[in-house]
Amino acid sequence: MPIHEKNLVDKNRLLVKEEAKLDGLDVSGQWSTFIEQRILGDYSTDVLDAVASTPAGKTIVNCWQCGTCTAGCCMHTDFGLREFNPRYFIYLAQKGAEDELKKYAPVIWRCVTCNKCVERCPKGVRVEEVVHSIEGYMRSKGWMGDTPASRWDEAFVKNTLQTGVLDELALTRSYVSREKLAEFNNRFMLRMALKLVRTGRIRTGPLRHRVKGWEKVRGVAKEILEGGGDG
C-alpha cells in the first residue's frame, strides 16, 4: 500500500527499500516503503527502580501524569522545545519504555532549573530533580555523553567543594573558557567582574567566602556525592 503523509511517521520507523519483492512480485517504487511496528511488547521496572533509588529521583513514584509541570515548563512552552516534556519523560521512565526514552537523549538535559514544575506539581514530585535523575540513568547506560549542562554541574560541584561557598566568578571563567562561549568574551567578563566585585556582590580569588572548618566537611560531602549517584 502506498503510504500517505509519511511526515506523520517517526523517521526511524520508515524503512525504504531500493527494490522490494513480495511473493516474487516486484513491488519497488511507491510500494517500497514499510513502517516498522511500534507495539510495546513489555513493561519493565528497570528505569523506575534505578531512578527511584536516587535521592533526586525518589519522588518519581508520586507522579500521576496530570501534565501541570509540562503546562508551565519554560523549555516546553517559552522556548518551544516540544520534545522536552517532563511529564512524558517521567511516564517513559515509570513504564520502562527504554527505546522511546533513548530518543530524548539530545534534549533531556535542556532543563533550565527554573523549578516552576516543582512549585506547581500537585503531587509533590520534585520534577526538576527527577528529570535530572532520569538523565543520569540515561548517561549511565551510555545513551548520552556529557552535555553543556552536566559539564556545568561538574564544574559547579568542583568549585563549591574548594571552600564550601561558590566562587561564581571563577566558575563562570573556567566554564566559559572551556565551552568557548563567544558571547562571553574577555571584555564582557572583565566588565561584569568589576561591577560585581565593586558592588560587593561577589568575592573571588583569595577574598572568596569560606565555610569554617570546611576541610573536615569536605571529605563527608565528597563521600555523599560519590555514593549518591547522579545528585
Binding site: G67, C69, T70, A71, G72, T77, K116, E119, R120, P122
Partner: protein, 357 residues
C-alpha cells in the same frame, strides 16, 4: 416515659432529614441553624440545578424544609451554640439567638450536621481568581446559572467559550488538600450541560486528570454531556491562566493526549473548587470535644461500620461534616443518625428508670 430531647445542629440536607425523622418518631427536637433560613449550603449559595436529575434546588430541598416546619421541630434560626457540657444527666447546652439572651437546654443526645464550605481559590494564585474577573469559582457560577445571568463579569457580554478546571483545592499537595471532593466532576459537567441547554452557541471544555462520576452519574451526567450536549473534554491540568488579547483568558495547559502545549483562549474559566469542613463544623467539634480526622472533618467512631457515631458517646454526626458527599447521602445519613440518637436517648431513659426504682 417523657419524650427524648434531641439537639440537631445545622439545617442543611442532613440536619433537616434528621430533625423531621426524629420529630415524626415522637422526639422533642430543637434544630439550631446559624443562618436565617433552612436548606444549608445549596440554599445559602444559590445553587442552580441539582445533579443527577437536573432539578432546581427548590424542588429538591423545599419539601424537606416544609416537612420540618410541619412536624413540630422547634427551629431556632440565626442561632448558635454558645456553650456545651456533657454530664451524667445529659448535655447542657446554651443557645444564643442573634442579639438575644442565652437559652439553657438539656438534651439526651445530639446530632452534628454542620456541613462543609467551599475551598477558597485565592490560594491558587496561578489561576488568577480575584485578579481576572472572568475567572469564577463554583459558588459564583452556580449563582450566575440560578439567576439565569450568564455574562462575563469583565464586560457584560455573553461568553462564546467557557472552560472548567477540575480539582482546584483538591488532590493537591501544594495546598495541603489530599482528598477528592467527590462533587467537582459531576457539578462541572452538570454546569456545562446547563450552559449548553440554555445557550447551544456556547462552546464548553472541561480540563481533567480523571473524571470521577461514580455510579449512575456516569451515564446520567458524563455520557449524556458528551452524547447529547457535546461538552468537550481535555486531558490535562491547566498550569496557569494568562491574560490574552482583547481581555480574554488564556489557559496554559498540556494536552497530555496530543502531547503538546496548548494556549487556548476562553471567555470564562470556572474553577471546580473543593469541599472542606465548614467553620461551623470545626467550631462545634471543638466545643463538644469531638475529634477531627486527618483532613479536618469530624472523625466517625469507625469510618467503615459506624459512620454516624462520633468519638463522644451520645453525639452523632451526619452529612458533609464528616467529608465530601452528595445530597442523597447526606439525607440518608441524617436519618441514620436520627435512629442512633433516638436509641441512645431511649436506652438512657430505661437505665435511669431502673436506677430510681
Amino acid at each position: 416515659m417523657s419524650s427524648p430531647r434531641i439537639l440537631v445542629v445545622g439545617g442543611g440536607p442532613a440536619g433537616l432529614s434528621a430533625a423531621c425523622d426524629l420529630a415524626e418518631a415522637g422526639a422533642n427536637v430543637v434544630l439550631v441553624e446559624e443562618e436565617g433560613f433552612l436548606g444549608g449550603t445549596p440554599k445559602k449559595l444559590h445553587y442552580s440545578l441539582i445533579a443527577p436529575d437536573l432539578k432546581p434546588v427548590q424542588e429538591v430541598l423545599d419539601p424537606l424544609v416544609r416537612r420540618v416546619e410541619q412536624s413540630g421541630v422547634e427551629v431556632m434560626l440565626n442561632s448558635e451554640v454558645a456553650s456545651f457540657k456533657g454530664s451524667g444527666d445529659g448535655f447542657h447546652v446554651e443557645v444564643r439567638r442573634k442579639g438575644g439572651p442565652l437559652e439553657s437546654h438539656v438534651f439526651d443526645s445530639v446530632i452534628a450536621a454542620t456541613g462543609f464550605a467551599h475551598w477558597d481559590p485565592h490560594k491558587k494564585y496561578e489561576y488568577g481568581y480575584g485578579v481576572y474577573p472572568d475567572v469564577l469559582d463554583f459558588k459564583d457560577f452556580e449563582r450566575m446559572l440560578s439567576e439565569d445571568n450568564l455574562r462575563r463579569p469583565s464586560n457584560g457580554e455573553t461568553p462564546k467559550r467557557i472552560a472548567w478546571l477540575l480539582c482546584v483545592g483538591s488532590r493537591d499537595k501544594q495546598v495541603g488538600k489530599f482528598y477528592c471532593c467527590r462533587m467537582g466532576c459531576v457539578v462541572s459537567i452538570k454546569q456545562a450541560m446547563e450552559v449548553r441547554q440554555k445557550h447551544p452557541e456556547i462552546d464548553t471544555y472541561v480540563y481533567y486528570m480523571d473524571i470521577r462520576t461514580y455510579g449512575f452519574w456516569e451515564d446520567k451526567v458524563y455520557w449524556r454531556s458528551m452524547e447529547e450536549f457535546n461538552v468537550k473534554f481535555v486531558r490535562g491540568r491547566i498550569g496557569s491562566i494568562n491574560r490574552g488579547e482583547d481581555g480574554r483568558l488564556v489557559a496554559m495547559a498540556e494536552d497530555t493526549i496530543l502531547q503538546r502545549p496548548t494556549e487556548v483562549p476562553f471567555d470564562m474559566l470556572v474553577l471546580a473548587t473543593g469541599m472542606e469542613a465548614s467553620r461551623g463544623t470545626v467550631e462545634f467539634a471543638k466545643l463538644a470535644g469531638l475529634e477531627l480526622e486527618e483532613h479536618g472533618f469530624i472523625k466517625p467512631l469507625q469510618s467503615d461500620s459506624l459512620p454516624v457515631h462520633t468519638t463522644v458517646e451520645g453525639i452523632f454526626v451526619a452529612g458533609t461534616a464528616t467529608g465530601p458527599k452528595a445530597i442523597p447521602d447526606s439525607v440518608s445519613e441524617g436519618s441514620a443518625a436520627a435512629m442512633k440518637a433516638l436509641n441512645f436517648a431511649r436506652r438512657k431513659a430505661v437505665a435511669e428508670r431502673q436506677q430510681t426504682r
